[in-house]
């Protein structure tokens, strides 16, 4: 019998941080058969990346393997000499990291970097270059000759990740370790890269250790899954079994946190997992999940639970696994009703009108139209979701609305009946305070030298017009209402977890009772369980105060959950705009359709992916006609190709309240999309 390609046996890894050994992996055991794809999923800080590095015996300098063994095809890597491990890494194991651009050397041409890998495996210089070209073809790079002469910064993220994959496969590895290989990529590019990985795996039979925080991606990519929590695998099994019959309370909780298709803020509240994962190296007795588990009993804390088989090759580390399915919800499933609204503002009445908003930046003497004639409306207490690939102009639109960047002439933004000036210093203090923002990255959005109380009280003082002493009291109240514990009010942002930082940022944004809050990817840096609590908090605040949101996110599930209206952006233009239900139920604009079909959903249903080929064109040189036409999958055979390539379509009202920028008639779209 052939030994598994990779086997970790009771692996314990510690990191020495400021002189103290902190345990990161607490006895991880897993095995990956030849040709199998094994997924490791879990929240940040649970040891996923450490496990990936350990699989190559490539730990940071302060990390060490305290106990256990790493068997590669039956040989214990922990007993090998460094040169032996190095030779395994060149010939048998490859790794693909999250950020492809940092994995490539920026000063060396792609061809040379790729050829070097072949030369390391014993090929001559000429052979290596030929093989490098073939390798690029294998990862579907259309013009390998041209790409080989380029430098990494010439490539888009998706292209660079293809090159990295080509490089990793150059040695025909028996094991491929992929650590969040698509996390930084747009959904459409992610879908393409994942398709490629699946195809290559089918052709080469390489075993894969696939690490991701994204359950949907894992669901689509892996044969078996291990759920990692606090450095320990709490549940492991075949992908379909594990997703259909999750048996560990952590897995159950994780799956419940995700805003899946169909859930909406008006009818459903997201469930959460109470608490946070234990700190790095914390002393844990018994079950690692005990502190956050609703089923916890004394027995759980007494000793580490044994692995129990709950199905064919499906094991779980939980004493009470049989009742996991009935895990009580951490929070009420009922949403705050609209009746609780304590504000006089009438929901749905007009708040913000954006008319013909445009912005051109000057770059190297050329004018680049980043935002092109965008018109939309936000009603009181409503959420407008902005979606689109990176570079679509989402964040620029947010900055234009807030006045952080001045808009072009002939653009109009009307807030509550008052026309606003383009830049902040020309707007009144009230108008500036009426619109606030919650940023994506709270580390940069909160001043790390100020205490939590100071951050919020300053905002209360300036935006709420309170005196210094009153503002501190008000800030404390506000923070407590955001459920930031009083013991943390004197802390600096660095001392808080990601979710808490985002709560502080939300408290600051709401300090002056704003009419509109822009949420720019507020949860994309957070784990799913924390994301759920933040989304619940935002929804509660909206219902209570009647605040309107402009919600920017690349996660369509999140946008669908929280939005009343959606604007789909492509190259600085609105291509589809309408009620959330209209946009999601269709008929869709071909671009929206492609976006929707690229999301790997966690229910495992196979959906036909509508490809969005090629790269996003540069706004400095947009395509003629409809800007989508070079990538559009519905143009061919539509009968209106001549229009698509020559004339830019207008944003037409195709149904009441549903706008689309497409030449193809709605009925024709409906027909092809329901086929």
């Amino acid at each position: 019998m052939t030994p598994p390609t990779l086997e970790l046996r009771d692996l314990r890894v510690t990191y020495t941080v400021r002189g103290i050994d902190r345990q990161v992996l607490r006895g991880v055991s897993l095995s990956i058969a030849p040709g199998e794809s094994y997924g490791l999923v879990g929240e940040s800080g649970c040891g996923k990346s450490t496990a990936a590095f350990a699989a190559m015996r490539y730990l940071p300098r302060n990390g060490k393997i305290a106990e256990g063994s790493i068997l590669f095809e039956g040989q214990d890597m922990t007993l090998m000499s460094d040169p032996e491990v190095a030779s395994l890494r060149t010939s048998a194991i490859s790794m693909i990291y999250q950020n492809p651009l940092s994995a490539l050397n920026p000063t060396i041409r792609i061809g040379h970097q790729l050829a070097e890998v072949f030369r390391l495996n014993g090929h001559s210089k000429e052979e290596a270059f030929v093989l490098a070209g073939e390798a690029l073809q294998r990862v579907h790079i259309a013009d390998p000759e041209k790409v080989m002469r380029r430098y990494p910064h010439h490539l888009s993220g998706g292209m660079a990740q293809r090159v990295v994959i080509a490089m990793a496969l150059a040695s025909n590895p028996r094991l491929l370790v992929m650590d969040e290989p698509t996390t930084g990529l747009d959904a459409t590019v992610e879908a393409e890269v994942l398709d490629l990985v699946r195809e290559l795996r089918r052709d080469t039979g390489t075993a894969v250790l696939f690490i991701s925080h994204n359950l949907g991606v894992i669901r689509h990519m892996c044969d078996r899954v291990g759920v990692l929590y606090a450095g320990s695998i709490v549940e492991q099994g075949k992908t379909a079994d594990l997703f259909s019959n999750p048996s560990h309370p952590y897995t159950v909780g994780l799956l419940r946190c995700i805003p899946r298709g169909g859930l909406h803020k008006n009818t459903d509240r997201l469930d959460t997992i109470p608490g946070t994962p234990p700190a790095l190296g914390a002393q844990l007795n018994g079950c690692v999940f005990a502190d956050r588990c609703a089923h916890v009993e004394e027995a759980c804390r007494a000793a580490t639970p044994d692995l129990v088989a709950v199905g064919e090759s499906h094991t779980v580390r939980c004493i009470f696994h049989s009742k996991s399915a009935s895990l009580p919800r951490a929070i009420d499933s009922l949403s705050v009703s609209d009746a609780d609204q304590n504000d006089q503002r009438v929901k749905g009445s007009r708040l913000l009108d954006i008319d013909h908003l445009s912005k051109a930046f000057t770059q190297d003497g050329h004018s680049v139209q980043v935002v092109n004639d965008v018109s939309m409306k936000v009603g009181v207490g409503e959420t407008l979701g902005l979606v689109g690939e990176s570079g679509a102009g989402k964040t620029t639109i947010a900055k234009l609305i807030l006045g952080l960047t001045g808009f072009d002439a002939d653009s109009h933004i009307v807030l509550d009946g008052k026309e606003l000036a383009g830049t902040l210093n020309k707007r009144s203090v009230q108008d500036v305070g009426a619109m606030q923002i919650v940023f994506q990255n709270p580390d940069q959005a909160l001043n790390r030298r100020h205490s939590v109380t100071h951050i919020v009280s300053r905002a209360v003082q300036k935006l709420g017009g309170l005196s210094a002493s009153d503002s501190t009291t008000r800030a404390r109240e506000l923070l407590s209402s955001m459920r930031v514990d009083i013991s943390l009010h004197a802390a600096r942002p660095l001392q808080l977890s990601g979710g808490l930082k985002q709560r502080v940022a939300i408290a600051r944004a709401f300090a002056g009772a704003p009419q509109l809050v822009v949420c720019d990817e507020p949860t994309s840096a957070l784990d799913v369980s924390v994301q759920a609590t933040i989304l619940n908090l935002l929804v509660d605040l909206q219902k209570k105060d009647g605040t309107s949101f402009i919600f920017i996110s690349h996660d369509l599930g999140v946008v669908r959950y929280i939005s009343d209206k959606i604007a789909v952006l492509y190259l600085g233009r609105i291509v589809e705009y309408g009620d959330s239900s209209q946009v999601f139920q269709g008929p869709h604009h071909p671009y929206t359709e492609a976006l929707l079909s690229s999301v790997p959903n966690i229910d495992g249903s196979i959906r036909k992916r509508i490809p969005l080929t090629g790269v996003i064109p540069s706004p400095s040189n947009p395509p003629s006609g409809c800007v989508l036409h070079p990538r559009c999958s519905r143009m061919a055979g539509s009968g209106v190709e001549h229009l698509c390539t020559s004339t830019e379509p207008a944003l037409n009202e195709v149904e009441p309240g549903h706008f689309m920028r497409c030449h193809i008639p709605l009925d024709q779209l409906r027909t092809v999309q329901t086929q």
Partner: protein
């Protein structure tokens, strides 16, 4: 329940930094030496064994002995006492000059880095021109122009020459800092520019500023010692290390090394201590 159940004790980062500093040998040695000299500068009179101008004509150029630990100079003055008391002037001048240069430089750097644009460009070109001027030559010329050495003039000149370097370092840090979104958040509450500069951005470039201060302090000590060695910088007759070295260095060849050696060691130890401190700080602030 929510994610606030986990808390980190207050002040952990600062405490850990101090703990790391205390383990850092370079920093401990450097700060011990500096503290010694600061004590000498403040309480010199109590540590010295003789008045600095007390002359013993029975014992000129006396070798180190139980009576005169570091020997005496040509006027029979106790070198030990003059070295101890001499710390006052160099530390005073070097610290004041560096403080002045850092304060002026940091303000310029903050404004230039935040406002950017044409103002920044013109300002930085002027500063580059200034920093191309050699410190010692300008100082000598200025002192000659004013007509006589003076502590104040020395402080002003060294401060003036240092400001551009500090400004450039701080400007670079501010350029990065101003891109952070907490600055946008401050603009969205209509904060004044001065508040954004000094209350929001300055605290975040403080580590850079502190390290820059110590680095400049090391240079300042050299500059002061050099100037007084060249006969400028301090009023004549002051018990200054550089002056002492200048007055006696030629005697080394006739084996009367002590009037030169001890002030020279003093200069070296002070300069080295400052450099050790800045090395330690660099490590802790992870710059």
């Amino acid at each position: 329940m929510n994610d606030s159940t986990q808390s980190t004790p207050k002040g952990t980062v600062a405490q850990e930094r101090i703990a790391v500093l205390r383990k850092n040998k370079a920093f401990v040695v450097g700060s011990s030496i500096l503290i010694f000299w600061i004590i000498c500068a403040i309480f010199g009179k109590l540590i010295a064994r003789y008045e600095i101008d007390q002359m013993d004509f029975e014992a000129t150029y006396a070798a180190p002995s139980g009576k005169y630990w570091f020997g005496t100079d040509g006027l029979g003055q106790d070198i030990y006492s003059r070295v101890i008391i001499g710390s006052r002037l160099i530390i005073l001048i070097a610290f004041s000059a560096t403080a002045l240069g850092t304060a002026v430089g940091a303000s310029i750097g903050l404004i230039a880095g935040y406002l950017k644009g044409t103002f920044d460009m013109i300002l930085m070109r002027i500063l580059e021109a200034i920093s191309a001027i050699p410190v010692i030559i300008v100082a000598l010329l200025a002192i000659a122009a004013v007509g006589g050495s003076s502590t104040i003039i020395t402080i002003l000149i060294i401060g003036f020459i240092f400001a551009p370097n500090v400004a450039r370092t701080i400007r670079a840090a501010v350029l990065a800092e101003a891109e952070y979104e907490y600055v946008a958040a401050a603009k969205l509450r209509s904060e004044k520019t001065s508040h954004i500069l000094f209350k929001e951005i300055l605290p975040n470039v403080m580590p850079t500023l502190i390290v820059e201060f110590t680095v400049r302090l090391g240079y300042a000590i050299f500059a002061v010692a050099t100037l007084s060695f060249l006969g400028a910088g301090v009023e004549a007759g002051s018990p200054d290390w550089g002056t002492q070295v200048a007055d006696t260095w030629s005697l080394i060849f006739s084996n009367t090394y002590w009037p030169t050696l001890f002030p020279a060691i003093a200069i070296a130890s002070l300069a080295v201590s400052i450099n050790l401190i800045s090395d330690g700080l660099l490590e802790v602030f992870e710059l």
